[in-house]
């Protein structure tokens, strides 16, 4: 019996050992064969992907002046596990930050997604070169800290903030949508930086290293077989004339409004001013968020790009369009004359100012007679062949849209608005079906009513007239270096539905308006040696003083610039918008100003208080 128990025990002990070892083997089986995650963890452990950031492409103006370049900045990184006790006050002093921010920094880094105490986390972003110079010498005193070079945008002329846009760090949303971007990458957020992000950013490279547990680089992975070099971003040449842009911003100082100038032969944007503007440097680097918030909270909305996003009624400038549509539809001829006794007499009537009567087509444009275009507009809508108001209106709308109104022109900038050209449906809803006629919507004849156009569309109108009937989609970029050319959509002519011969009469009218002596509405815009053609307008503003509008192009026979100027709350087009446009044209074509008094008057004009009053 006793013997039996002892032999049993031999087997029990062997059994116990066997069971324990089988447990080990099962666990190893789970770990090494069933579970896959450890293999992934292993490569994450060992491989460190260090992105190689390419320099972002530079931006030049049409004459080769640099308008955006890169400036070195440095991100201070920290590897938490390598930090040893250090003098926080000393570091704070070097970085020119309060000492508490050091302590806070260590708390903040842990909140970042993907934080690991074994990998570098951004401790302080975008240290200036000046601070970096000091820090670099003392960095050895702060083990665990390292500096990664980055680039920030810089603007030698501090102009064209709206147009250029700005660069910022990618957020979670961008990262989730586009796998190219990783935490800490920069991306163009607005303006050209956004629309040419792909060209400007270049292609990130990556160097893969093997690291040990202390994150010390042990060498390149597979001798750099899987590394890729960064491709520098492409430089961009804009159609913008930096001098003109700067001059336009100066002219618009202390005024609200917009200037858009286009080269009619190409559709290149020469200047695009939205006022009030802001210094693009404000939206660079560490202070970007703070400054952005300040700008955003400003009641004058300096961030808002009025050139593309502000909808104004076109005012009297729109008479040109109605005149052209009328001629195309054969309801008005160059010789057609209408009398005007202070206004259009039918219905509620439309008033007119004092001018000779009766007027021919050209004269009507020169003197901007409301009455004349009321007749023209009604003749189009009520043209018997259409059979109904609706058909007539639809035909008119089709013509109007061929000028680029009521649709996006397709400029290479984000956030362009399409503007408003009302539709039959709109009026059917606004009144009722059959409840409206040409008289009800008569204000369209003088560019008021339910029309909404952007300054860009108005500049495009000037370009259409300058070209006698066609336009190129306006675009900012002239050339992306290292590519075959710009987007083909910018070299495609868009013809209006109006025969080019009719444009000559309009051009004559616009010439007369500026240079025609008595009765001309825009005599102030005339230049001694250059034949400027222009048309004033006053956009009715239900909220306050009317907006001053002027469109023009010059020279008359070989147009090199087409321009639209809007000055909010500035009253008649001739008072502010026409002289500003004229100075712009003079600046662009002669590179000098022969009328210093006028220039001074415009520079010093302060119209912001009018804006304030209306509130």
């Amino acid at each position: 019996m006793q013997l039996n128990i002892t032999t049993d025990k031999k087997y029990i002990i062997s059994g116990i050992i066997l069971i324990f070892f089988i447990v080990l083997i099962i666990k190893l089986f789970m770990l090494q064969i069933v579970e896959q995650s450890y293999k992934l963890s292993a490569s994450n452990n060992v491989l460190r992907y260090i992105p190689q950031y390419p320099a972002r492409g530079l931006i030049y103006d049409r004459k080769g002046n640099l308008i955006v370049y890169n400036q070195a900045a440095y991100d201070l990184m920290v590897v938490k596990n390598q930090v040893k006790a250090f003098d926080t006050t000393e570091l704070a002093k070097i970085l020119e930050i309060p000492p508490e921010q050091i302590k806070d920094g260590f708390i903040q880094i842990k909140k970042v997604k993907g934080y690991s105490p074994y990998k570098p986390s951004i401790f302080i972003k975008q240290i200036s070169s000046k601070i970096y110079a000091v820090l670099q010498e003392k960095l050895y005193q702060f083990p665990g800290f390292e500096v990664h070079p980055r680039t920030l945008r810089s603007y030698p002329h501090k102009i064209a903030g709206h147009l250029l846009g700005y660069v910022g760090e990618v957020d979670d949303e961008i990262i989730s949508k586009n796998p190219y971007y990783q935490l800490g990458d920069y991306i163009g957020i607005n303006g050209l930086e956004k629309s040419y992000e792909k060209e400007l950013r270049g292609v990130k490279g990556v160097s893969i290293y093997m690291v040990d547990v202390h994150n010390r680089i042990k060498g390149s992975y597979e001798n750099g077989l899987y590394d890729s070099t960064a491709v520098v971003g492409k430089d961009i040449i804009c159609g913008i004339d930096a001098n003109l842009q700067e001059y336009g911003e100066k002219l618009m100082a202390n005024k609200i409004g917009s200037i858009v100038a286009i080269e009619p032969k190409t559709g290149e944007v020469l200047a695009m001013v939205s006022s009030p503007s802001y210094d693009p440097e404000l939206l660079v680097g560490r202070d970007r968020t703070t400054n952005y918030r300040l700008l955003q909270n400003d009641t004058l909305k300096p961030i808002f790009n009025r050139a593309l996003m502000a909808l104004y009624p076109p005012g009297s400038t729109f008479k040109i369009v109605n005149g052209l549509v009328g001629m195309q539809e054969g309801v008005v001829y160059p010789t057609t004359r209408y009398g005007c006794a202070g206004g259009y007499p039918i219905g509620r009537g439309v008033g007119c100012h004092n001018h000779p009567s009766p007027l021919s087509f050209t004269q009507a444009i020169q003197m901007s007679c409301n009455t004349y275009f009321c007749y023209v507009f009604r003749s189009i809508i009520d043209k018997p062949i259409f059979g109904s108001v609706e058909n007539g209106f639809s035909d008119w709308k089709k013509h109007v849209e061929s000028f680029g109104f009521g649709k996006k022109l397709g400029i290479d900038l984000p956030n362009e608005l399409r503007g408003i050209v009302p539709s039959v449906n709109f009026y059917d809803r606004y009144f009722r079906k059959g409840g409206w006629n040409s008289l009800t919507i008569i204000s369209l004849s003088i560019g008021q009513g339910e029309l909404g156009t952007t300054p860009l569309q108005m500049a495009n109108l000037a370009a259409v007239i300058a070209n006698r009937g066609y336009y190129y989609s306006p675009h900012v970029v002239k050339e992306v270096k290292g590519t075959d050319g710009i987007d083909p959509k910018f070299t495609e002519k868009h013809y209006t539905t109006i025969d080019s011969t009719y444009f000559n009469y309009v051009v004559e009218g616009m010439d007369m308006a500026v240079n025609g002596g008595f009765g001309g509405t825009a005599l102030i815009a005339a230049l001694p040696k250059i034949r400027v053609c222009g048309k004033t307008g006053t956009a009715q503003n239900p909220h306050g003083a009317d907006h001053s509008v002027f469109i023009a192009f010059a020279p008359k026979d070989d147009p090199k610039i087409a321009i639209a100027v809007y000055v909010e709350n500035a009253g008649f087009g001739a008072t502010w918008a026409a002289p500003i446009a004229s100075l712009m044209i003079e600046k662009y074509l002669t590179d000098s100003i022969a009328r210093p008094d006028l220039e001074k008057l415009m520079f010093e004009g302060k119209l912001l208080d009018r804006h304030a009053n209306k509130k």
């Binding site: 025990k9 080990l24 450890y38 093997m210 040990d212 547990v213 202390h214």
Partner: protein
């Protein structure tokens, strides 16, 4: 009587071969763990693999020496070895060098030794000698006291050295005692104690006490066949507990649930004992003792865990039991070790191709975590080979132990089996997250002279004893 010379054939060459294979594989893995392009020469003595080569040569000389000595030396001087080991342990405790928080190193010239490693075979010899006495009855109080003394003395000194892992090894010698007559129920109780230990750490005191109470009641119902009395007693105790709880709350004081359970037990036991006395139920006496012992054990484990153990030890235990999941902090060691082994897959990454161990992601990779290199570079196959070698070695040693005529040799053999088994299971177990990281080496594998020599001596004394069994 055979002479020494003729005993060469008597050596168990299978065991010796497995030993050599393990030592060689260990060295290969130390080379792989430390390997870097800068130091690739095998004989670079500034590197650990170079040093280990020296340790191995010494170990082989030691083994030869152990085999050549007269076998009677181990029997006659068993207590002397033991006494020497104890003295060295005390010296190390008092004057030793602190390595990894443990006062366990004795500096001799430029080299250091760990007496704790050598105390293992000395203790095994001492136990063998003690129980070898003719007609030794393990269950006599005097025997238990002697055994307890021999086991606890080195264990306590090692604990004082702050080397918990090495101290726990002595608990493994219960296998020897089991083989030598410790009844099954004591083994079972031992298992219960281990379970209680884990429960105390995971759950609250009160929960474990209620578990202990419930277990006692269950045993009463099963062995005493007294379900009715058990239910009445349980109900009464529960009511006492509930009444206590609410009456104390009513007075506005608060008392932890642990105390309420304790009070209920304290009231309950005398009542049960009086009942037992009148009804003459002996089982109740035993169960009362059982309940008191387990309660005391629970409370002391809780006390030790929260007031005696250092934070890092608590953390390691917590981490293993899944109470805390902190892969970058305290769980880091185990996590990195699991990543290394797990990334090895079926066939491994190939010799010297391991990235996790090579780039130091695994801590202590040439000593306590040497198995990571095996797992990463040799994969599941390699791990299986190594574990199988150890398993074959252990089963072989049991076989050898059982063929001994003398109790001394057999008992010593089981001592060798227990010690190696504990080391292998705990060491590999901790690298794959089955056991807390308590820092004990993998026999014959891990880097370090003391450990290698101590295991060599441990094993070869047994081979020597076996070789002369016929004599």
């Amino acid at each position: 009587m055979q002479t020494r010379n003729s005993s060469w054939r008597g050596f168990d060459w299978i065991t010796i071969f497995i030993y050599l294979a393990l030592v060689f594989m260990g060295w290969l893995n130390i080379y792989a763990a430390v390997y870097s392009d800068a130091h690739s020469s095998i004989l670079d003595f500034t590197q650990r693999y170079g040093m280990q080569l020296i340790w191995i040569v010494f170990a082989l000389i030691l083994a030869l020496f152990v085999l050549l000595i007269d076998r009677r030396v181990y029997f006659v001087f068993a207590y002397l070895f033991y006494a020497l080991a104890i003295v060295l342990l005390i010296v190390a405790l008092l004057f030793g060098k602190v390595v990894n928080g443990a006062h366990s190193w004795l500096q001799i010239g430029s080299a250091g030794i760990q007496p704790a490693e050598f105390a293992k075979f000395a203790t095994a010899l001492a136990i063998a000698k003690l129980t070898n006495v003719y007609n030794f009855k393990i269950l006599q109080p005097k025997s238990l006291l002697q055994i307890g003394f021999i086991l606890f003395l080195p264990a306590i000194i090692i604990l004082l050295q702050n080397d918990t892992g090495s101290a726990m090894v002595y608990a493994a010698l219960i296998l020897v005692l089991y083989r030598e007559g410790l009844p099954n129920w004591i083994m079972l109780y031992f298992v219960l104690i281990v379970i209680l230990f884990i429960l105390v750490i995971i759950f609250s005191n009160a929960t474990v006490l209620i578990f202990v109470f419930g277990l006692t009641m269950l045993l009463f119902a099963i062995f005493g066949n007294r379900l009715k009395e058990m239910l009445i007693y349980t109900l009464a105790s529960t009511i006492i507990g509930i009444v206590l709880y609410y009456s104390i709350r009513y007075t506005g004081y608060s008392l932890s649930t642990t105390y309420i359970v304790l009070i209920a037990i304290t009231i309950g036991i005398p009542v049960a004992l009086i009942y037992a006395f009148f009804r003459r139920i002996r089982l109740i006496y035993y169960l009362s003792l059982f309940l008191i012992m387990n309660t005391a054990f629970t409370l002391s484990v809780d006390y030790i865990y929260h007031n005696v153990l250092a934070t890092h030890q608590q953390k390691r235990i917590n981490d293993l039991l899944g109470i805390e999941d902190d892969t970058q902090g305290w769980g880091y060691n185990v996590n990195q070790s699991k990543i290394a082994i797990g990334s090895g897959g079926f066939f491994g990454k190939g010799y010297l191709q391991g990235t996790q161990t090579k780039y130091n992601f695994v801590p202590e990779q040439s000593t306590d975590f040497i198995f990571c290199t095996v797992g990463e570079e040799w994969g599941f196959i390699g791990s299986l080979v190594v574990i199988s070698l150890f398993l074959i070695l252990l089963l072989r040693l049991i076989m050898i132990a059982e063929r001994q005529r003398e109790a001394f040799s057999r008992i010593y053999g089981y001592g060798v089996v227990s010690i190696i088994f504990f080391h292998v299971f705990v060491n590999i177990g901790m690298t794959i997250g089955l056991f807390p990281v308590i820092g004990i080496p993998l026999p014959f594998f891990s880097y370090g002279g003391s450990s290698l020599w101590a295991f060599t001596i441990l094993l070869f004394i047994f081979i020597k004893l076996d070789s002369s069994r016929l004599g």
